[in-house]
């Protein structure tokens, strides 16, 4: 039993720190915010094709690196720190994970090697509304050629730019996972205007989307419980991203208060300011312990139910920590914290949006309470 990062894990983390500080700094993020797709293809090419980050948890026999949740958490944390504008959450955390946990062998062989190589951008539509579990928005009807999909998905991450959209649909009385390529007739994507410009969301309409039989990719094995596990895995990785964002909020605040002089001294010397920064640090380290712990539990073959609850606990905590730290960052920057030019507002908006994805804190706490109290 060893709870330290291995040397390789430290290398992965440090390489990500260096790379993103150069290629995904505030200026790069702000430039990407202005683009139509929300990301810089050159950055994506480096992340996907050169660095191989998309391959992290994909098995080696499918072109991946065969690493664990801890390694992916470390990458997500650094990307969250920078609010990196890249379709990584959609491709890897949503679509890639759904394929790994829910995909048939054939579907995995068809899509995962391309995702691993950074050659396919994908996303996942879990519910009719929201990014996470909820009533499915799409129904799959059997047809002569295979399937016909009807419905709408109100909030799909990178839904307008992804090349492949995985859709959770109602099938008879159950659920199924379907692969819908971008160019399929009947699929309409409308990009949505959002306050968090570092991440794109689209509304998808599916009208008479005709697919062949092979488009159903869950091997008839999907149900609510398996879907819960897909959501939980994704929630943990989003929590890691939120953790990174919270850390950056603290770091920005420390840098600002160390320079800002009022009443003849750096405002960092005022005890009230010191205490509030210390409280941010406490929340961040507590969240870090929970996120890393849940990832380590998953990688150590921990009980699936326990892993799910801990992932949910991590998401709940991280959502609150990111919002708290972003709020404190705005406040402790004083007047400039309220400007577009300074970065705290970017984290505030990411915090508000991501709090509602892959389960809110209240929703996860209710699931935990049910497991603890109702069993």
């Amino acid at each position: 039993m060893n709870f330290s990062l291995t040397d390789d894990q430290v290398l992965i983390r440090d390489a990500a720190v260096d790379f993103l500080s150069q290629r995904s700094d505030s200026a790069a993020v702000r430039a990407a915010m202005e683009t139509e797709t929300g990301f810089d293809p050159a950055l994506w090419a480096q992340i996907g094709a050169e660095l191989g980050w998309c391959a992290t948890t994909i098995p080696e026999d499918l072109g991946g690196l065969g690493l664990g949740q801890v390694e992916l958490v470390l990458l997500m944390e650094q990307m969250g720190r920078r609010l990196s504008c890249a379709p990584f959450l959609s491709t890897v955390v949503l679509a890639g994970n759904a394929l790994l946990q829910q995909g048939s062998e054939a579907a995995q062989a068809r899509y995962l090697p391309r995702i691993a190589a950074g050659e396919l951008r994908a996303t996942l539509g879990l519910a009719g509304r929201g990014v996470g579990l909820g009533a499915p928005g799409v129904r799959a009807l059997r047809s002569d050629a295979g399937w016909r999909l009807e419905g709408s998905l109100a909030h799909v991450v990178d839904g307008a730019s992804a090349e492949l959209i995985l859709v959770v649909a109602l099938v008879d009385d159950g659920l199924g996972l379907f692969a819908v390529p971008r160019e399929t007739s009947g699929l309409d994507a409308r990009p949505l205007q959002t306050w968090d410009l570092t991440r794109r969301v689209a509304r998808l309409e599916l009208s008479g989307v005709a697919l062949d039989a092979a488009a159903r990719i869950d091997g008839d094995a999907m149900n609510l419980q398996t879907l819960r596990q897909v959501e939980a895995r994704a929630a943990l990785l989003l929590a890691a991203e939120q953790l990174g964002g919270a850390q950056q909020c603290l770091d920005l605040t420390l840098a600002y208060t160390a320079e800002r002089v009022q009443f003849g001294q750096k405002i960092a010397s005022f005890q009230a300011v010191k205490h509030r920064c210390a409280q941010m640090m406490v929340e961040i380290e507590a969240t870090r312990s929970l996120v890393y712990g849940a990832a380590a539990l998953a990688d150590s073959g921990g009980d699936a139910g326990a892993v799910m609850l801990e992932a949910g606990a991590a998401k709940a905590r991280a959502s609150e920590t990111l919002f708290f730290c972003a709020q404190e960052a705005v406040q402790l920057h004083g007047g400039v914290g309220f400007t577009w030019e300074y970065d705290p507002h970017l984290y505030l908006k990411r915090a508000q949006a991501s709090a509602h994805w892959l389960g809110t804190a209240d929703q996860w706490r209710e699931r935990i309470a049910a497991a603890l109290l109702d069993a």
Binding site: M1, F3, K274, R365, E366, A369, L372, L373
Partner: protein, 395 residues
């Protein structure tokens, strides 16, 4: 980063669990779950007998080197020991200050002769220790101690005058370690000496102080000409601050994981009560219970991070925030427990497990005060972990 234990560690877990189950029997059965925070008055004499029972089995001072009667356990095994100890409901350790604080301090900074004189009594459960640090004018500002120690040139003994406060278990203890000012006119942490003193001597008066829990686990101690022998100074005269700081650093460690097992038991009792009395159907209480559970997972993983990084030497962020984290969690748990009890939370008539939970809930009000208040912890985090400017002290 792995969370699984080796087969050897699992075998060790079974060994200690079995020993505890066998030995927490007969007269010791009554000690299960007793003597914890808020319950320190519980049968000290029987708990001292239990310390000797542990000692005969070789289960005191397990983290000490084998040469001094310990087992030289690995961090993983210490963790397992403390977890199983708490899981069995074995009683609060009266030997805690000896085993966990002054013992390691003597191992690190004492002389061979001091080790030979004091360590066996600690290990065998025949000699008990308490702490003489805080004073009415020296709490958070420990360096402001005013208790004076003057060396008698003729006999070499140090003669002590002054007052210590908040000394837990003074009435059950044999010896006290005292931080006193030995250099007249010195200020702050310079000019202090770390002394070991027997309590059973003229010039020592112990007065219990009643706590908000109703008990009187801590005391004030008046020194009026009591003596410490020259050979009972740890480190050099005038350099006692470093010894005191070393001692306080030993408070972090594997025993924190035993504390978490105790917390787990409290949470499970609280959840069972909630199921029994319907509180488990209240949506707000459900949310708070889930938060408490998640907070305990935070403490566990945070402690594992700390233990895995111990070899490092320096104090890492997760270690610096740990006390703040657990103490505030536990304080909140106490409030949650009383809220789950509802209007009955105000009654003092409950049977033992619930009454202990209430006492613990009230005692938890001190968790954020002792061993560094919340406010001091935040100062330390800001200054040492975040590098923010230190407060200017008046000249």
């Amino acid at each position: 980063m792995r969370l699984d234990f080796t087969p050897e560690d699992e075998a060790f877990r079974i060994e200690i669990a079995r020993w505890l189950d066998q030995h927490l029997s007969g007269p010791f059965e009554a000690l299960r779950h007793r003597g914890g925070p808020g319950d320190e008055d519980a049968d000290p004499a029987l708990r001292k007998a239990w310390e000797r029972e542990l000692s005969v089995g070789g289960w005191t001072c397990v983290g000490w080197p084998k040469g001094w009667g310990g087992r030289d356990l690995s961090i993983e095994q210490q963790l397992i020991f403390h977890e199983e100890y708490a899981r069995a409901g074995a009683p609060g350790r009266l030997g805690h200050l000896g085993e966990g604080l002054i013992g390691p301090t003597l191992l690190a900074l004492g002389t061979d002769e001091q080790r030979a004189r004091f360590l066996p009594g600690i290990r065998e459960g025949t000699q008990y220790w308490c702490q003489g640090f805080s004073e009415p004018s020296a709490g958070s500002d420990l360096a402001n101690v005013q208790t004076r120690a003057v060396q008698d040139a003729a006999i070499g003994d140090w003669v002590v005058h002054g007052q210590k406060v908040w000394t837990s278990w003074a009435l059950e203890s044999d010896w006290i370690f005292v931080l006193a000012r030995s250099e007249p006119g010195s200020k702050g942490h310079k000019g202090l000496t770390f002394l070991l003193m027997p309590l059973d001597q003229p010039g020592v008066e112990i007065r219990p102080i009643r706590q908000l829990t109703g008990g009187a686990e801590f005391n004030e101690i008046f020194f009026d000409g009591a003596c410490a022998k020259a050979c009972d100074v740890v480190g050099k005269p005038g350099e006692g601050w470093a010894v005191a700081m070393a001692l306080l650093s030993f408070e972090r460690g594997a025993s924190t994981l035993g504390q978490q097992m105790h917390f787990t038991q409290e949470l499970e009792l609280l959840m069972q009560l909630a199921r029994d009395n319907g509180a488990a159907r209240d949506p707000h209480l459900r949310g708070r219970i889930a938060q408490a559970w998640a907070g305990l997972r935070v403490l566990r993983y945070n402690a594992l991070r700390m233990l895995s990084g111990l070899q490092d030497g320096s104090l890492r962020p997760e270690a610096m925030m740990y006390k703040y984290c657990w103490s505030n969690w536990h304080r909140d748990l106490g409030k949650l427990a009383l809220d789950v009890m509802g209007v009955d939370g105000d009654l003092r008539e409950h049977p033992l497990p619930l009454r202990l939970l209430q006492q613990s809930a009230l005692f938890a009000r001190s968790d954020t005060i002792y061993a560094g208040t919340n406010e001091i912890q935040l100062n330390l985090i800001a200054e040492r972990a975040l590098g923010m400017p230190r407060a200017a002290r008046p000249a």
